[in-house]
Symmetry: C2
Subunit: 394 residues, 2 copies
């Protein structure tokens, strides 16, 4: 039997992830892949994690294998509260924090708690494709706001807010896909526009710890807008395979409803993994570890930018990230990144065409490149090949 | 700001779990709790799991810490396919299987893929409360079908199917909350009613491996209804804390859409935990391990039934489970289990009143007791106290 007529409108509205579809092609041996969003394995402190595994099993015994509470391990939530309080002068307690099964689950829970079919939401243009995917399940109306070198365009944001919207979703630091960072002035303006507006600001911050140039800027809403949500993760700093992300909010009502949604979604996140990350953080200096990751990513980002300067036609533009894992290439207007993709794959180099990062347009001339998962020589060779392919399309 | 006016209809329709709410009260030292659904820690092979942790880190290195594929570790999916093929004569390949973040996530994904607001679904009456919770998020119309000693009442099922429904959700073995098992004849009749009916049968089977009396019966739909879904988990046989469940279906369309829903929900399940469970299964004999759990649960179940015979008024009825973790008590009609609950808690004994297991009624005279997480003496003492409390209400 075909189940076509039994499918929900929600699933029919949800695009499969283009990235995950092409990762298979990109993972062929010999292909230089800038397509994924994989952290460099150097960011996995394997030996220390193995020591923590042994320690938590020996210390906490059956507790690390048993069912546990929905909001997550109190000790880990307290660690997160303390770290954000120290780094950003916030005033968090563990009750402001829910551990999620990766940051992706946070997006799913937010959709469940805030969105019904037809509700308006504001996203950056372009934005994180898996956020489009998670929110699409609830069939909202997307109001994308242009992303400039300074961040979300404040005037266009104010304009978009004339529509009835539930929330604004933004990635202010080393944005995925563009690598752009909101300026201090832009953050101020967005805060002024959003305060007393009756919408929730969601700041998604998976990369903030990975600043390798310039100064870390304050959050837009966290600590100031009482009904804002801040998302974080240990995926980029410790290990993504353990799927440990977190939601931070000072709004108790939001936390309460997000907890019910979490309970209905997977009861709780893997409790062993929570003990593991907590024990690792307690017994190691996270900042020393992150410093190594940042030094590596800085080198890799520069290798990619240097190679682009050398091998790309001058009409090709690209962002110059100060942190994170991605940069964003704008091809001449006549060149569709989706058409470039198969040609590049023939030359054994892969990237993500811009299309899936837009909620509203197709066949764009932009593309995302990841620089964290190849060494500098491989990066240069990949960019050289990509430059050749682009020239053939001009 | 209050976010009340921003909340989705879905979250407002979703009840917080009563069980998780009372677990706090039930976890006070001195309280004998029959409330939870916790496996006995004897079911966690701690030493073997620790050995597997060390082995998978040493063998697979960064792969156990990196991002991974949405459907789950192929080797683990193959193990599951092989085990079900061997045990039930099914014809599964790994492509018929998706690893989920616990069975709870499977319920969430099924809701996403099949349900829009107002869609009809058939559930047992009573049924698993967290299934009610997961499905409620999609705002379906529940058509509960009476559960008898033989299973779902076939005539009432046929009647309920006159409504437009998307799926039938059933727990045929050692049902939660009742501990009842569908008879062979009943399974046949339900199969006959459902075949060619254009609805999906969901067989949720978390306890099937825990049969301690009688014979294991064949599934209703798995292997016969091509558009049916079978759910399984390692939570009751190895460890719930790792959150490893799975979806089995021969319907490729369903698998494809469930995968997209999974991707949008948490990208993938903790990959370390998948390697861990797979390595454990490869290097240990699961059946020998399960035999130990079953011997224990049989003893505990009998201790509870013996104590009930001794201490409960004869007007109180209860099921006699052949496996699983729960039994179901029916009080005299005049006694509300919800009124009994605070009185029992005063006497330091906890259970779950029947209410949250019904999609349609309140203030029922039924209640769920778990027997797997207390030793036999504690069980007897708890039942003695509970008997006293019941007598006071008669």
């Amino acid at each position: 039997m075909s189940v076509e007529n039994l499918l929900s409108e929600g699933i029919k509205a949800t695009p499969p992830s283009f990235v995950r579809a092409i990762l298979k092609a990109a993972s062929d041996p010999g292909v230089i892949s800038f397509a994924g969003g994989l952290p460099n394995p150097v960011s996995f402190p394997q030996e220390e994690l193995l020591a923590s595994m042994e320690r938590v099993v020996q210390t906490y015994g059956s507790n690390v294998f048993q069912y546990s509470v929905t909001a997550g391990l109190p000790e880990l939530r307290q660690y997160i509260a303390d770290r954000y309080n120290r780094s950003f002068g916030l005033d968090l307690s563990l009750d402001n924090i829910i551990i999620t099964t990766g940051s992706q689950q946070a997006l799913d829970l937010i959709g469940k708690v805030l969105l019904d079919k037809g509700d308006g939401i504001i996203v950056e243009r372009p934005t994180y494709l898996a956020a489009i995917q998670a929110f699409s399940m609830r069939q909202p109306v997307f109001y994308p706001v242009e992303l400039t070198e300074e961040g979300m365009d404040p005037e266009k944001l104010a304009e978009a807010l004339r529509n009835p919207v539930k929330f604004v979703y933004a990635i202010p630091d080393y944005q995925n896909p563009t690598g752009l960072t909101y300026s201090a002035g832009n953050r101020e303006r967005i805060y002024e526009i959003l305060k007393d507006r009756g919408v929730v600001l969601i700041e998604d911050d998976p990369y903030g710890e990975l600043r390798f140039d310039g100064e870390r800027l304050p959050y837009i809403g966290a600590g100031k807008l009482p009904d804002s949500i801040l998302l974080g993760t240990f995926s980029k700093t410790v290990t993504p395979g353990m799927r440990i992300g977190f939601i931070i909010s000072k709004n108790r009502e939001l936390i309460k409803h997000l907890s019910v949604a979490k309970e209905a979604s997977d009861l709780h996140t893997n409790i062993f993994a929570q003990y593991l990350i907590w024990d690792y953080l307690k017994n190691n200096d996270l900042d020393t570890h992150i410093a190594k990751i940042k030094a590596l990513y800085r080198k890799q980002a520069r290798a990619m930018m240097d190679a682009m300067k050398k091998y790309f036609p001058p009409t090709v533009k690209y962002t110059k990230p100060h942190g994170g894992m991605f940069l964003w290439v704008t091809l001449p207007e006549s060149v569709s990144a989706m058409s470039l993709f198969p040609k590049a794959l023939e030359k054994k180099v892969a990237f993500v065409p811009g299309d899936p990062f837009y909620a509203d347009v197709k066949n764009v001339n932009t593309m995302r490149l990841n620089y964290t998962n190849a060494d500098c020589e491989t990066i240069e060779e990949g960019i050289r090949r990509l430059g050749d392919c682009i020239r053939q399309l001009l």
